[in-house]
């Protein structure tokens, strides 16, 4: 029996092997994904993002427990950073997710970013496809601790929760572009700390401007993950958001956009490989570089002509 056949029969160890295979981009991994993709698309994907130490893992843990209590099967992907210096990683999100049932109703996978800088690993979307195809009802995806511009999560999830803490800053921070624009729901975690009412009020004030323009009310929930406080309210808002995007047509629109991005991603991947593969055949790269270095040529002219040789396509201007 192949690992893929075991996967299809519901074997969680085979799921784990398939994920490694996808993550390592081992030979034929795209063939595996092509087989799994048609069975995906059913799971709801919820993203948790925010600065380091805000309590993302603890919130994922708490929400997962409520979803399990409803009888759902949950897949969790928790991403932590890879060292750019050594290639190693310390993946510690599981510490916050102890005592989960071991009956197969929940599957947790830690992933390292492996060089990606958008808050997720390059393979996170593909791993989510595998979890989806395996039959989980909900996939909870947790990014690395982010700053303002690591926004890959939007392209992977249906609902995005931005997790902040009372110390996360004032209204000006909330007005800035990036992270604050991608939230469907805000969770102000560790709300037992001083200042939580202030940040909730300031955030609500800034969000009023945006709420007027859209039909979704961008809720701000003060939570205490470790005390299990307001987690039920957070889940109510997740339910409400999923209901909203499904009735408004945004769900389909967003998923279509994700498919488009995936399609472009696959083509770009192949095209990059094609360039790497063909460049040595069509030109003497060292000589081209020397010519440019010595001022006999420039990268713009040479780049265009090499691209035309590889693809037969004259680049657009």
């Amino acid at each position: 029996m192949t690992v893929l056949e075991k996967f299809l029969s519901g074997d969680q160890a085979a799921l784990a092997r398939i994920i490694t295979f996808i993550e390592d981009r081992q030979e034929k991994y795209r063939e595996v994904l092509a087989r799994l993709y048609p069975q995906s698309g059913r799971a709801v994907k919820i993203g948790f993002t925010g600065p380091p130490g805000a309590g993302k893992s603890s919130l994922v843990n708490s929400i997962a427990r409520l979803l399990l209590a409803r009888g759902h099967r949950i897949g969790i992907i928790a991403v932590d950073p890879t060292s750019p210096f050594t290639g190693g990683a310390l993946l510690g999100d599981r510490i916050r997710m102890v005592d989960m049932p071991t009956d197969g109703s929940v599957y947790i996978r830690s992933m390292a970013t492996r060089g990606s800088s958008g808050g997720l690993a390059a393979a996170t979307g593909n791993v989510a496809t595998a979890l989806d195809a395996f039959g989980f009802d909900f996939i909870l995806i947790e990014t690395v601790g982010v700053g303002q511009v690591e926004l890959d999560i939007v392209d992977t999830c249906d609902t995005v929760i931005v997790v902040l803490v009372p110390e996360s800053g004032d209204a000006i921070q909330a007005l800035k572009a990036g992270l604050m624009e991608i939230a469907d729901i805000f969770a102000i975690n560790k709300a037992d700390r001083p200042g939580s009412e202030n940040i909730v009020a300031e955030l609500n004030m800034v969000l009023e401007l945006k709420r007027n323009k859209i039909e979704w009310d961008l809720p701000v929930i003060a939570t205490e993950a470790i005390n299990n406080k307001n987690i039920d309210r957070l889940l109510e808002k997740i339910d409400a958001h999923l209901g909203y995007i499904k009735t408004s047509g945004l769900f389909e629109k967003h998923r279509r956009e994700q498919i488009k991005n995936k399609l472009f991603g696959v083509m770009q991947f192949h095209f990059n490989n094609l360039i790497r593969q063909e460049i040595g055949r069509i030109t003497d790269l060292d000589k081209v570089i020397s010519d440019i270095y010595e001022g006999k040529s420039d990268p713009f002219t040479v780049g265009e002509s090499l691209l035309k040789k590889i693809s037969g396509i004259q680049p657009l201007h």
């Binding site: 160890a13 398939i18 060292s83 050594t86 190693g88 990683a89 102890v98 599957y107």
Partner: protein, 139 residues
């Protein structure tokens, strides 16, 4: 892309002395491994379940409480029971020589005792993972 060494580090049982395992976690991270650290007071069930979900090459366990003759066999048995005994089990702690011999005979791949260097553990894990062959067909 090359295959990464993935290793799960855990502390089973009731002792809370996690300094050693954190030093090992940092050394493994610096060696380029992906280290999944699950923290204190893990049951053998939790450790084996996590090791399977994370598809790790090896599980490293630190025991300083004297419960090694119970906990290591419990983890080994569970790995066998779940057909996951391709996962290497190694560990460290304050363990008498005769217990080290007995445990290594029963299937714990390697035990480190006080005085072992982080370089030794890194070298050991690299070699142990390289030696292991997987007999599987993906597709």
């Amino acid at each position: 892309m090359s295959e990464k060494i993935r290793v799960l580090l855990a502390k089973p049982g009731l002792d809370g002395h996690d300094r050693g395992i954190k030093v090992i976690a940092a050394a493994f991270r610096d060696a380029g491994f992906e280290v999944i650290y699950t923290g204190l007071r893990q049951t053998p069930e939790n450790i084996v379940n996590a090791a399977i979900q994370e598809d790790v090459d090896a599980v490293g366990v630190s025991i300083l409480s004297g419960a090694h003759m119970t906990l290591f066999p419990a983890i080994l048995n569970l790995l066998k029971e779940k057909k996951a005994d391709q996962i290497i089990l190694f560990g460290g702690g304050i363990i008498p020589d005769e217990d080290v011999a007995a445990l290594e005979k029963s299937g714990v791949d390697k035990l480190f005792t006080p005085g072992a260097t982080t370089e030794e553990t890194v070298k050991y894990l690299r070699e142990a993972v390289a030696k292991r062959k997987r007999d599987e067909k993906i597709i």
